[in-house]
């Protein structure tokens, strides 16, 4: 995975995680462009699109779009599962997660993501294991 974006229907960015070193200016441009493309998609269209030289997998959960940019040889269908797993983790952690949770606790959303995915690849395929690690780390907070 090259990067993951979370944004609202109004085009407000809620989370951006980049797995490839990119200049700030380029990041801003890519985010703007991609948001435009995804937000223009109609509901009946499929979850995959080609954008620049990447494949983009996106899924809408309530008011939030979860968007992943993957490379040519990556499996689009399993990326959908990855997105779903992340949403499940957020849901378990926050208890019926909604967009506001992610807005007000964005740093926690990052912590959870960083415990699940590293360098663009999944670290642990067990939901229980990831949640337990977050829990324990939270306990260490002073």
């Amino acid at each position: 995975m090259r990067f993951m974006l979370l944004f609202s229907r109004q085009g407000k960015l809620r989370l951006q995680k980049w797995y490839l070193a990119t200049a700030d200016k380029d990041k801003k441009k890519m985010v703007r462009e991609l948001m435009q493309v995804v937000l223009a998609r109609k509901p009946k269209m499929c979850s995959f699109l080609e954008w620049r030289d990447l494949k983009v997998v996106y899924k809408r959960y309530a008011s939030l779009y979860f968007c992943c940019a993957i490379e040519g040889q990556d499996n689009e269908l399993i990326t959908l599962e990855l997105i779903h797993r992340y949403v499940e983790l957020l849901d378990k952690y926050f208890g019926s997660v909604c967009e506001l949770d992610i807005i007000f606790n964005f740093e926690k959303a990052y912590f959870i993501l960083d415990e699940f995915v590293m360098g663009g690849e999944i670290q642990d395929t067990s939901k229980k294991s990831v949640l337990k690690a977050i829990e324990q780390a939270d306990l260490l907070q002073e």
Binding site: M45, C46, G119, T125, S126, E142
Partner: protein
Amino acid sequence: MPAPIRLRELIRTIRTARTQAEEREMIQKECAAIRSSFREEDNTYRCRNVAKLLYMHMLGYPAHFGQLECLKLIASQKFTDKRIGYLGAMLLLDERQDVHLLMTNCIKNDLNHSTQYVQGLALCTLGCMGSSEMCRDLAGEVEKLLKTSNSYLRKKAALCAVHVIRKVPELMEMFLPATKNLLNEKNHGVLHTSVVLLTEMCERSPDMLAHFRKVRQLSSSQLVPQLVRILKNLIMSGYSPEHDVSGISDPFLQVRILRLLRILGRNDDDSSEAMNDILAQVATNTETSKNVGNAILYETVLTIMDIKSESGLRVLAINILGRFLLNNDKNIRYVALTSLLKTVQTDHNAVQRHRSTIVDCLKDLDVSIKRRAMELSFALVNGNNVRGMMKELLYFLDSCEPEFKADCASGIFLAAEKYAPSKRWHIDTIMRVLTTAGSYVRDDAVPNLIQLITNSVEMHAYTVQRLYKAILGDYSQQPLVQVASWCIGEYGDLLVSGQCEEEEPIQVTEDEVLDILESVLISNMSASVTRGYALTAIMKLSTRFTCTVNRIKKVVSIYGSSIDVELQQRAVEYNALFKKYDHMRPALLERMPVMEKVTTNGPTEIVQTNGETEPAVLETKPPPSELQPASQEDDLLDLLGGTDITPVIPTAPTRKPASPGGELLDLLGDLNLTGSPVPAPAPQIAQPPFLLDGLTSPPLFNDVAAGIPSITAYNKNGLKIDFTFERSNTNPSVTVITIQASNSTELDMTDFVFQAAVPKTFQLQLLSPSSSVIPAFNSGTITQVIKVLNPQKQQLRMRIKLTYNHKGSAMQDLAEVNNFPPQSWQ
């Protein structure tokens, strides 16, 4: 100074802003407060301030002044500080800033921290944004952690290692020992990340790949069987709540294993065989009701198609894709079409079976699916199904989005050209495309179509009639109008004389035809190019029409003062044709002859027929020719006294150092090298360039038919060698000679080698011959291409040496070729 406001407080406040300006004001105020807090080196609230900064950064505001603060947080002892610090580093820092290197020491310390969660933070940061320098410094630490028994750290170390390898590929070797027993772990996290690490190593280094395919020395298990075993356990084992997704056990791990198997099995028979069974098992046993199952099947199909699988397995894979096409889930259909597109070349017949489903996808609502279905449909058109497929594709052309029309039109033209069952059908199809998507047709299609029409001699009347009718109603689609104008200009006489056989001939008068052409000329919708076509067409009709020549003269003279320079020039020249050169007019405006088909790939075809670009053909090149240059070159040198000789090996011609003096010239000195009056080239019909509009774009190489006569260079003892010539329009000093050697005796000539020498001012390149055997009784020939570079345009001379075996004895002969036609070198 009051305590800085809390993060949540800030977020709440900013969200109350009603305008962008209001938000900006709040942000600026808070930034100022944060800046002064940073200046005071306040440890207590640094964490809170950086967190707020990160929020504002996400909104799009600059936060670079917080970079150093992140480093201070990382260096702090408190876990909360470190957590925010590392997050800030990942969000605000990147390898472009030198600041990031200051992190290295902190990370190093934290990698050895007593708390695994701190170690985890360090590994995560390094694994996400570590620069090459950092990776180099810390690779050792990562390698150490890769061998720990703590699975929490081990899995993170594995992914960190992946990042290190991506940044500094030379470090790959150092992680190799640690990979030895990674797959013995039970922990799925470690298994997954280990498979990712192994995949990265195998993809990056062919040596690693070879290593992993072989038996490993320390452990007795090979990688492929190990992976197969793990995969089997996942499938066969009962319900495992921890890793279950919709009834499937750890689909993420299954997919990654399948992907690694793909890399291991690619081009390797043994590995492919070892994984055959498990692939079949996964393919048949996986639940397909949910996306998870299909994700695994998808990966399985990709693997089956990429390795050396047996045909039964491949058919199974394509059938899975066929089933995908019928799935309600559009994502699955999309993925199926993409995969089928990749396999249609290699497994054409299997994909053909699903043709009707693919054609149905042309009617899908999703744009991406439609595009893929279109590409796949074109790939599946063949001689048998062309009528049916074209019907569907023409219907698609009618109803599809504008962004597809150009590609679809081009695709239809190509397919029609290859597989047209009849000329009438071909013309009809073209007409249909021109009228349906006339404005989207690519510019280069117009000349191709005109050539096609010209060559369908018996259809001229029918074609011009249909085209006339088409533009009568609407002359806005430029490509259509261009083709129609050209045809009317050419075949207008057939139109007015009502000669059409294919359909009911229409009654058209000469004036009506001129009316429509003049309308095109006048219309605002007509492009300049189109007007050119129309004017030329009108002019041509002056020799084909009988009653309206005066009208034509008038039109032409009017445009002699057109603002459009191109049009004006044409009109003026046509005017001149009427006045001064009226005797030439009939000859000039004669009916176009049937054109030689010149493919747009002209030059490359010449090269390819001699296999120069194909490495495989180089390998099958007869071995003797590789050995020969060593000895025979010397012979030639002796005989010709040091000419520039190119060896027969078709690599870049090695030039022998220029020999002192002009020995070759001496040898050939009795021949007349300096110009004896060269016979004037045969007068070509002076076709002014504008009449060639509408033909194919000037070919890069003149047709053989265009007039360089071929010669027989050698004819002795039953061996005949003919030379045919082509000149490059783009590089006039290059002459390409194709030699054809034939054998009229009753026994084959084997081990045939052709060598050539030219005077010093020339350069010669010999490409590899088509074979080394000339079959007897003229039943076949050897073809070979010679490229001659003649920058000084000197008269071409050549000495050739032929060696071959015939009737059991070795034959050899030298000859001079000096009957090169002047057009081949002037």
